[in-house]
C-alpha cells in the first residue's frame, strides 16, 4: 500500500510499504477514506519529537471502513463494513487510567512505555504515527491502518454525514473542545486563544459554545486571523501590537479570565531577541521547547484565572513564570486529549449543527501529494489552514 513516511528531518515521502496485519486480538484493519495532517505532525517533521525513525508511517487523524477484525473483537461491537472515525490515543478501555477516562494515559497501549517513563516520569499511551516514544505504531496517512482495541476506541458513524464533517473527531475537535472545557467557562468570561491554527479555531468555537462572553484569537498570519474573524471571534495580531497591552485594552485592564495555549513548543515570539534566545537554546539542545505562548498566557491571564494548555510540549522549557502562576492564583490545566471521552457528545453537536469543523478545511489533496501538503502547511503558504488527504 501507499503510505506517508518520515524520511528524516524536514522530509516526508509517500512510499510503498507492506499492507498492515492483525498483531493483537482486538485489532482491526481500516481502509482509510480520509486522513489529515495535524499541526503536531509538523513537530515530527521538524525533528522536535525524539525517537522518530526513517520509514515511520505518519498520521494520527484518520477514518475509514473496517475491512478485517481480529479474533478478540466481538461482532456486536464492530464488524467488517462499519464506517469508523479512529481516536488518536490508543487506549485499552480496561486499565485504571481508562476507567478514569484518562485515555491518553492508558497504561497498557504503549509497548515502549519504559522509554516514555524515562522521559516523562510515568509512561503515556500509544499514539498512531507519532514516534516510538508513543509506541512505534504505524500511522494513518496511508491506504490502510491497523487499529488496536478496535472494539473500544473507534466511533461508528452513519453515512449521512460526510467524511469532512466527522474526520476531526479523531483529534483536533476533541482537543480544541477539551482546551475550552478545562477553562470551566462562565458566561462572563473572556477567553483568549493563542494560535489560530486548526486546533485554536476549534477551541475558539468550543469556548463560544460553552458560553464565553467573548473569544479572542491571537496569531500573526492574516489569513488565519481573518478565518477567526469570519467565525465571529475578536482578533489580535501579535506582529503588530504588544499582546499584553492589547489584551488589557480588550478586557478593561483585567486580562482574559481564561487563556488557551493552542501553540505549543515551536512558538514564535513577537520580540526577536527572546525568540533568538530560545531558538538557540533549542538548537543546542539546552532547551527542547520554545514556550512563548505559554509564558504570555500565564502573564496575561487575569488573577485567579485558568491557563489551559493543548499545544504540544515534549520536554523541558526555560524561564517558566512560576512567580506569576503562584502569586496570582492561576490554575494550569493540560493534557493530550482524552479523545474517546468526547467523540460521542461532539458527534451529537455536529449532528445538531452546533459545531461545523469543516470551516477550517482549505485543501483537499490526494495522498500522493502529502509532501507538498506538509510543505505548504509548515510554511503557511497558499493560505493553508487544514489539509485533508484522500488515499
Amino acid at each position: 500500500m501507499k503510505a506517508t513516511t518520515w524520511a528524516g528531518r524536514n522530509k516526508v515521502e509517500v512510499r510503498d510499504v507492506p499492507d498492515p496485519s492483525i498483531l493483537n486480538s482486538r485489532d482491526a484493519i481500516v481502509r482509510i477514506t480520509s486522513t489529515a495532517i495535524c499541526g503536531s505532525d509538523l513537530h515530527l517533521l521538524d525533528g522536535y519529537v525524539p525517537t522518530m525513525q526513517d520509514g515511520d508511517v505518519m498520521g494520527h487523524e484518520f477514518m475509514g471502513e473496517v475491512v478485517e477484525v481480529g479474533p478478540g473483537v466481538e461482532a456486536g461491537r464492530l464488524r467488517v463494513g462499519d464506517r469508523v472515525v479512529v481516536p488518536f490515543p490508543i487506549a485499552c478501555g480496561v486499565c485504571a487510567a481508562c476507567a478514569a477516562e484518562l485515555y491518553s494515559c492508558c497504561e497498557n497501549s504503549n509497548p515502549n512505555a519504559g522509554v516514555a517513563e524515562k522521559m516523562f516520569g510515568h509512561p503515556t499511551a500509544g499514539i498512531f504515527g507519532y514516534s516510538h516514544l508513543t509506541g512505534g505504531f504505524a500511522g494513518g496517512q496511508a491506504e490502510y491502518a491497523r487499529v488496536p482495541f478496535a472494539d473500544f476506541g473507534p466511533l461508528k458513524v452513519d453515512g449521512d454525514l460526510s467524511d469532512e464533517q466527522v474526520l476531526f473527531l479523531s483529534d483536533i475537535l476533541p482537543t480544541g473542545y477539551m482546551g475550552a472545557q478545562m477553562c470551566d467557562i462562565r458566561p462572563t468570561d473572556v477567553v483568549a486563544v493563542w494560535g489560530a491554527g486548526p486546533v485554536g479555531q476549534l477551541a475558539m468555537d468550543s469556548a463560544r459554545l460553552l458560553g464565553a462572553a467573548q473569544v479572542i484569537a491571537i496569531d500573526r498570519e492574516p489569513y488565519r486571523l481573518r478565518m477567526a474573524e469570519d467565525a465571529g471571534h475578536t482578533t489580535v495580531d501579535f506582529s503588530e501590537v504588544d499582546i499584553r497591552s492589547a489584551l488589557l485594552e480588550l478586557t478593561g485592564g483585567r486580562g482574559p479570565d481564561k487563556c488557551i495555549d493552542a501553540v505549543g513548543l515551536e512558538a514564535t515570539h513577537g520580540s526577536a531577541h527572546i525568540h533568538v534566545y530560545d531558538r538557540i537554546k533549542q538548537a543546542v539542545r539546552a532547551e527542547t521547547d520554545r514556550p512563548h505562548a505559554l509564558r504570555q498566557a500565564i502573564l496575561a491571564c487575569r488573577n485567579g484565572g485558568v491557563v489551559s494548555v493543548i499545544g504540544v510540549y515534549t520536554g523541558l522549557v526555560d524561564k517558566f513564570p512560576a512567580g506569576a502562576w503562584m502569586n496570582r492564583s492561576l490554575t494550569l490545566r493540560t493534557g493530550q486529549c482524552h479523545v474517546q471521552r468526547y467523540m460521542k457528545p461532539l458527534l451529537k453537536r455536529i449532528e445538531r449543527r452546533e459545531l461545523d469543523p469543516t470551516r477550517i478545511i482549505t485543501h483537499t489533496l490526494p495522498l500522493d501529494e502529502a509532501p507538498h501538503g506538509y510543505n505548504i502547511f509548515k510554511r503557511k503558504r497558499d493560505n493553508c489552514e487544514k489539509i485533508v488527504l484522500k488515499p
Partner: protein, 180 residues
C-alpha cells in the same frame, strides 16, 4: 544482585495470585525466561536464555506460600546461578486493584559465567524487571502482550532499540514472528 519492581494491576489479588502460582505463565512476560514447567507439587524446572546463545537451566522449589498474598521460591543447590524470588500482593487503595511487589535475588558467580550474566542484565538491570511487570499487567488486564509495528516482538521489545520502522511488517518478518 537484588532486583525489586512493583506494579498495580486492576484485578483482585486472588486472580493475580492464581496466575503467578502457575509458573508456566512466567515466560509469557519475563524476557529472560524461555520455559518454566512444574515437576512436582512444589518443584519446577526453569530454563532461561543466556547471552552467549546457550541456555541456563535449574530446578526450583516453592519455599513459602500464603494464598492471595505471597509466593516465594528458590533454586536448588546445584544451580549455576543460585537465585530466589518472592512476590507479595497487596490490595491497592482503590478497592479493585492489586499491588504486585517482586523481589528477585541472584547470587552471581565469578568467572566467565558471572561476567556473561552481568553483561546480560546490563547497566540497568531493574529496567528489565520493570518491563517484565509491565507485560504482566498487560497480560492480566488485556489478555496479551501489546505489540506495535515498531515493536512487534512483545517481550523482546527492550532489546530491539532502535526499533524497526513503525510501518507494517512484510510477510517474511510476520512469519518469523509467528515462529518465535
Amino acid at each position: 544482585m537484588e532486583l525489586t519492581a512493583t506494579t498495580t494491576i486492576r484485578k483482585p489479588a486472588a486472580e493475580v495470585y492464581a496466575f503467578w502460582l502457575r509458573l508456566e505463565n512466567l515466560p509469557m512476560f519475563m524476557a529472560h525466561l524461555e520455559e518454566v514447567r512444574s515437576t512436582g507439587d512444589r518443584t519446577s524446572h526453569w530454563k532461561a536464555s543466556a547471552p552467549f546463545g546457550s541456555a541456563i537451566e535449574w530446578d526450583a522449589e516453592v519455599i513459602e506460600e500464603v494464598p492471595d498474598e505471597l509466593v516465594a521460591w528458590r533454586s536448588s543447590a546445584d544451580a549455576d546461578v543460585p537465585n530466589t524470588g518472592r512476590v507479595r500482593l497487596v490490595p491497592a487503595p482503590d478497592g479493585v486493584s492489586t499491588e504486585v511487589h517482586v523481589l528477585l535475588s541472584y547470587d552471581i558467580p565469578g568467572g566467565d559465567l558471572g561476567k556473561a550474566v552481568a553483561e546480560y542484565f546490563g547497566e540497568e538491570p531493574h529496567q528489565q524487571l520493570d518491563d517484565d511487570l509491565r507485560r504482566l499487567k498487560q497480560v492480566m488486564e488485556i489478555g496479551e502482550v501489546m505489540r506495535s509495528e515498531g515493536a512487534p516482538w512483545g517481550k523482546r521489545a527492550r532489546k530491539e532499540f532502535p526499533q524497526r520502522p513503525a510501518q507494517p511488517l512484510p510477510p517474511d518478518e510476520l512469519a518469523q514472528e509467528a515462529r518465535t
